[in-house]
Symmetry: C2
Subunit: 413 residues, 2 copies
């Protein structure tokens, strides 16, 4: 790991930190805060809010975490703020399925998983990493505090938020508590005395509330910095697990490599800028060249940063072999218990597909076969009622879903 | 004091309770609740919220308190809910001068004064009177409870409140905490399990929020009953102390009598309906007769209800004498300290007017004289620089502001 570079000249810091940024409110404030910090020896306090209801991170999250890492590399302290208390509330109306209320224990467990993934990107030295939980101050707030907090903001300003104004004019219900969440999030910045808050572009409004509230609490206003929402592998929607257009932060080198080779060409520049440290000149050079070469460079750069010791040549080799329709060497092995064989001494292939983790149910497995999405030992297998015998299984078979998902099935001895 | 009448037939109760009412949501609910109460022996729980930041009551408050008393007379339990906790918050933006934050002690002291005045109207038997303070439950509420409460109501419904929608469209700021107050007030109804909530017509929306919230908390919805805001002696604005168009609940019999004789003719029917128990027929008869006779009856009825033992003839006699320009017998005496006499052995009349409590400052007293508003011993006194000598004061002088405010000044012996 590189050394922390302290006392980098202000202009150079601004250049590094501005890369890929969408909103910066304001550059002057950031410059002033960095310059003053150099005089006083106080690094900036850089906040990122983390929602422990969704603990699976992907490259979309990496965009912001990499920016946090740049702050760390310049000696600033990043604060991972875990919204554990907020997670225990969930959506009190029960309408949102994506925000089930969690117990504090569940929230903490999710947070552990979240933080473990962040470690792939963030530095761990305590001088540049602080982990906080908002239960620390939100649990203390009483009715009077909340009225006092709410009094500092007007309804009109909250309703300016784009989605609120749209929903209100469309007649879509907004629950009163939703108006309180931006205030709470802002209050977190007050409690933390944040100098900078990072977020996706969808967080611009909420983070500006924090900036305004800090002034109301007689603090210096935080700098608000937003980063683009990374578009996923489908080329249109933002990367998300539920849309299955993502590359997971903890994906194995070969899977990450394969995923990056699939990035649509128009997104290449974006991925280079947001996910690698390559300079602007090198990026321009790559974009001017052959797209496959550019993809290869992107994949190698990104995989190297998440898996510093990984064998990049092996990951690439596997990708090529699969692309040509081959079966890679290093695939998961699944043992089939002898008990699975029926009286006839055979077992439905659909059942084996589920056992191999390629589909969640027998029905889905049969559908996959009907749609010609399954291969057995490299050949399409399209009979949904098909069976494998003990003899076929004894020597091992390879099942393959689509281009890139494999498992080797072996009868348990 | 009359007996409590229990088990009055439902129809008769409804007739009594509907008198003078503006909104009743809904009559069916009220009827059903009363009928069931008769079966189970459970009287209704009738809530009135009291704001201890303004402890001076006038006849405008009497309108609602008299309705509460009618519930008591029918055996129902009224609950005076003192907003002591809310009073300690005041207006956190500091913009409203009418809502300074109070200490809990101040709020409680104001509440004592408020309740003492209520005793002029309400029955005191504990079976029909409960006094509660909202600190009891609001002090317990944490962030999570408030989010849960807020989640039960939509922004659109809160913004339907007339003054909110007008202010929002006019661009006049509404502070976020103002949206929370109706929810809190509604939560009070949940905490009290109120069957009925009374209020002025300006409270209709807030009390309907309580009705809705009770349902959300799996309670039966309260009946909401509103009464008119009494128009003051100026004939246009609602009665209020700050507009000086009021008759205080604790005014002396003669002052109350004189005030009621000044009620503008178009308001007579209203005053009769809302402040006396006279039947509709008798009221019609009085309104058809001479206005002075109607005023006299109104004054005697109302004064008797607040001062059961008072000498109504004496109060009337005094009113008549003052009306003819006479000086009544029973007026406040103010002692003038000898030290007030200057070297010349005299004192400015303006100073004495202030001493007598007729004006707040020498300047105001001089203005009163210039405007020919002051009499000395029954004669207009218009010289703002005028002095009285020791000899003039020795025998006592009567100063009079307007038609009805007197003081007798005597040199301290």
């Amino acid at each position: 790991m590189s050394e922390i570079r302290r006392n980098v000249p202000v202009d150079e810091q601004i250049q590094i930190l501005k890369r890929g940024v969408v909103d910066l409110v304001s550059e002057d404030d950031l410059r002033r805060k960095i310059a003053r910090g150099q005089e006083t020896g106080q690094p900036l306090r850089v906040k990122l809010g983390a929602d422990p209801t969704r603990p699976d991170l992907h490259l979309g999250h990496a965009v912001i975490l990499r920016k946090m890492r740049q702050f760390q590399d310049l000696g600033h302290k990043v604060i991972m703020l875990i919204g554990d208390f907020t997670a225990t509330i969930g959506d009190p109306t029960g309408k949102s399925k994506t925000r089930p209320p969690l117990s504090l224990d569940e929230a903490r467990a999710n947070a552990e998983s979240y933080l473990a993934q962040c470690r792939l990107i963030l530095r761990q030295e305590p001088e540049v990493l602080e982990i906080r939980y908002n239960s620390e101050w939100l649990e203390q707030l009483g009715y009077k505090d909340i009225i006092g907090l709410a009094a500092k903001y007007t309804v009109a300003r909250i309703l300016e938020r784009d989605d609120f104004s749209k929903r209100l004019s469309a007649g879509t219900p907004i629950s009163m508590h939703e108006l309180l969440y931006p205030l709470t999030q802002g209050y977190d910045s007050v409690a933390l005395r944040a100098d900078v808050e990072l977020g996706g572009t969808d967080q611009l409004f909420n983070n500006l509330v924090g900036r305004a509230l800090q002034r109301d609490y007689d603090q210096e206003a935080q700098v608000v910095m937003t980063l683009p929402l990374l578009v996923g592998l489908d080329g249109t929607e933002k990367m998300s697990k539920s849309l299955d257009n993502y590359i997971g932060l903890t994906d194995a080198p070969h899977a990450m490599f394969a995923g990056l080779m699939k990035v649509p060409d128009p997104l290449l520049e974006n991925y280079f800028t947001l996910l690698t440290d390559l300079g602007a000149e090198r990026i321009a050079e790559l974009l001017a060249g052959h797209p496959v070469a550019a993809h290869r460079e992107l994949a190698r750069e990104v995989v190297r940063s998440f898996h510093p010791g990984a064998d990049l040549d092996a990951a690439e080799e596997r990708f090529r072999s699969v692309a040509k329709g081959g079966i890679p060497d290093n695939i998961p092995e699944v043992r089939v218990p002898v008990g699975e064989l029926g009286e006839q001494g055979s077992v439905a292939l659909a059942k084996l597909v589920v056992l191999a983790g390629l589909e969640p149910s027998n029905g889905a497995a049969r559908k996959l076969m009907q749609n010609r999405g399954l291969k057995l030992n490299g050949e399409a297998f399209t009979d949904p009622q098909g069976q494998l015998t003990r003899e076929q299984l004894a020597g091992g078979v390879v099942v393959q879903k689509g281009k890139d998902k494999f498992a080797r099935l072996l009868l348990e001895s």
